[in-house]
Symmetry: C2
Subunit: 418 residues, 2 copies
């Protein structure tokens, strides 16, 4: 007898998380002997806990196909981390009640490190109760910080957006610098790791190409050296393009700009490293500057997605279904790099217990010797991830996003205790 599947999106969305959802749902439809309905948690795991489920079987195949080029999280995502069953068994019990009520035999959790941890705990908790629930993680994060997998879906597209945008603004600044803006600062995401900042380095090749300076979270900010490099760049090029990660800190570990607020995971909420750096240069050198903060634009810019990233997001969604119907649980499909150039990759598999709560940092040798750029090793790694374009269809100047009905599944349980 086929059983139902629960799919949930988690954490910060990406421009290709829906491509994974699309491929996963379409793959499940080809496995009707194993999977009947694919339910999606409305707003992720919170919807699962609230028994607020969307029946994706009621969506047309056209709509599900269109999801593959639609950014955001189509069923809603959330920042809600389940603690361990020891710390908060009530949540796990509730989740299992929902699973039982809706005959959930497959749980697909599409997220980053915290989510892989949750998927692993769900797998273990279900097994401890003797329940047959295949729990499979689907990787997703623009932060590219999951271990084992060569890269994470969402990263390549954000990286492409940053590389292309840096390349474009550099042409703008270069053409005006003789009489106008001499310093341009672009702030990009990356709380702990400089993967996204590194991607900006793909915009140039030579030592004088923009971006002339990248500020990585991995390299403590040294104001004196930084200002000297800005002056040098302006002397040599007439201008300086700086790409700064939101996560840059000084030697004391203090963020260049910290709002002081924290998100629901207890992470510091950042923002403003770009203007902070620009103003610091303005004070010291008195230059005309401009700054931009890409913020959510970089993780939702589906109009400039990497074709490689889209293909991998889809392949991982499909692979998750294949693993689950083969009876695997507590696993996550991964990207295995077979070769750099020509770039070849295949789908691999990791144990969730090996993925959970391990943050992959950027290799030290990805940063150039002076600390302000990227190395050849970084280029070799990053180049293929931004390769290829995958444009959405447009109508009257705007992309045609998927339109979903998002019809709720009838509730079978009482509301959960508040």
């Amino acid at each position: 007898m086929p059983r139902n599947a629960l799919y949930a999106q988690s954490g910060g969305v990406t421009s290709v998380i829906n491509a994974s959802a699309s491929a996963l749902i379409l793959a499940a439809r080809t496995h009707s002997a194993h999977i009947d309905h694919v339910y999606a948690g409305r707003n992720g795991i919170v919807g699962a806990l609230d028994e607020d489920l969307i029946d994706t079987n009621l969506e047309s195949s056209e709509a599900i196909t269109a999801l593959a080029h639609t950014p955001g999280g189509a069923f809603g995502s959330c920042r809600h981390k389940l603690r361990s069953p020891q710390d908060n068994e009530a949540e796990y019990k509730r989740l299992i009640d929902v699973f039982k009520a809706h005959d959930i035999g497959y749980f697909f959790y599409n997220g980053g490190g915290d989510s892989m941890d949750t998927a692993n705990k769900v797998s273990g908790y279900a097994a401890s109760l003797g329940l047959d629930v295949k729990s499979v993680g689907v990787p997703k994060t623009i932060d590219n910080d999951l271990p084992i997998t060569d890269c994470c879906p969402g990263f390549g597209s954000a990286a492409k957006y940053i590389a292309v945008s840096t390349s474009e603004v550099a042409l703008d600044v270069a053409s005006m610098c003789a009489t106008s803006t001499k310093l341009f600062v672009l702030e990009v995401m990356g709380r702990h790791a400089g993967w996204l900042a590194a991607a900006a380095g793909l915009a140039g090749r030579g030592p004088n190409d923009a971006p002339q300076i990248i500020l990585f979270p991995e390299v403590p900010f040294d104001k004196t050296r930084f200002l000297a490099r800005v002056e040098q760049s302006i002397a040599e090029n007439g201008y300086c393009v700086v790409v700064v990660s939101e996560g840059v800190r000084d030697r004391d570990g203090k963020f260049l700009s910290e709002r002081g607020t924290r998100d629901s995971f207890g992470h510091a909420q950042l923002g403003g490293a770009g203007p902070a750096v620009a103003e610091l240069v303005q004070e010291a050198l008195g230059l005309k500057y401009h700054w931009a903060v890409a913020d959510y634009m970089q993780r939702s810019a589906r109009h400039l997605a990497s074709a490689t990233d889209v293909a991998q997001a889809k392949a991982l969604g499909e692979a998750a279904v294949e693993l689950a119907v083969q009876g695997e649980t507590g696993v996550m499909p991964t990207i295995e790099r077979v070769s750099d150039d020509p770039y070849e990759w295949r789908i691999g598999k990791a144990r969730l217990e090996d993925v959970a709560n391990v943050e992959k940092t950027m290799p030290n040798d990805f940063v150039s010797e002076d600390g302000f750029g990227i190395s050849e090793a970084a280029r070799t790694y990053l180049n293929p991830l931004i390769a290829g374009e995958d444009y959405p269809a447009y109508h009257q100047g705007l992309p045609r996003w998927a339109v979903l009905k998002r019809i709720s599944v009838a509730r079978k349980l009482a509301s959960r205790a508040p």
Copy 2:
């Protein structure tokens, strides 16, 4: 005998100013009976005054063709306004000396309102000396504030970037708002007029579609009404997307955020209206927020250019050459709208004296009654301007920009007095 032409780019560049340059140079090459060399001022009119000219005839037709999809100002632009011949005749004399030394019979000035004023004065000054110099303006400005022409090249592409980006981030915010960011603010350019902010309105249609609030420079900022609208949007949608023009002011005419510095034209240099609005909401309502500032990205995003805009930029560059070789001077080709839907346009012509120093403001009826959105009249005007995509070719994940040699023309004059 054919004579030489001088082409100069002026003011803030756009993602399609080089498309005008490309078409103008290619058109000039077909008029060899009239035009011999097309020289480009290096860094715009400053290069013309410094006798620092680039010989575009030494660029391959492949390179000039590739210019059509390359952002920035390929020959350099500048912010330098020539005063009137009465106030600073030395500059005009110098320009005429350069014209004479290099047998310049055609002057093409590619810029905004200030530049059209300069082109007009050059035309008049040359005529007053009995010189045969055809001076023709080529419109360009993302601000869309030139009169007579229906629209300005550069605007449509920036508008498309803003509309698409708003549409994308809205999907991102909507998918996370249940547990995360509830307010998203995108700051766009537009010092005096809300044309670019209005473009964001194309991202949604219904009253609850994002952007739920647009803050126009034309509408004095009213904190109480604004906060009420934010609260209403969050109550109805769970989130609120605000697009704010950098030029928004309060009832006393004070910019929401003003750096206090001024550019070389004496205009206040703005920036930070986005974070200012976000923080204002945070203080009043205590919501989790994010903000982005598009800054130069919106005017250099050639990867998302409007095909309509590119076609018009090219047509205006070509038309400038046609006007000049027909013996016209003191004119600017324009875009005339023939019909809205289906959109049809043709090239018209305006006298530079009618264009110079007249700023076209956004019609009052483009703002919706509540002051926070756009009207149907605005949609009718804006829709066709963002229509169509015109992608650059990519190689290894990045656009292939034009590569120019930019070979200098041998100087014939002494350096100008400092």
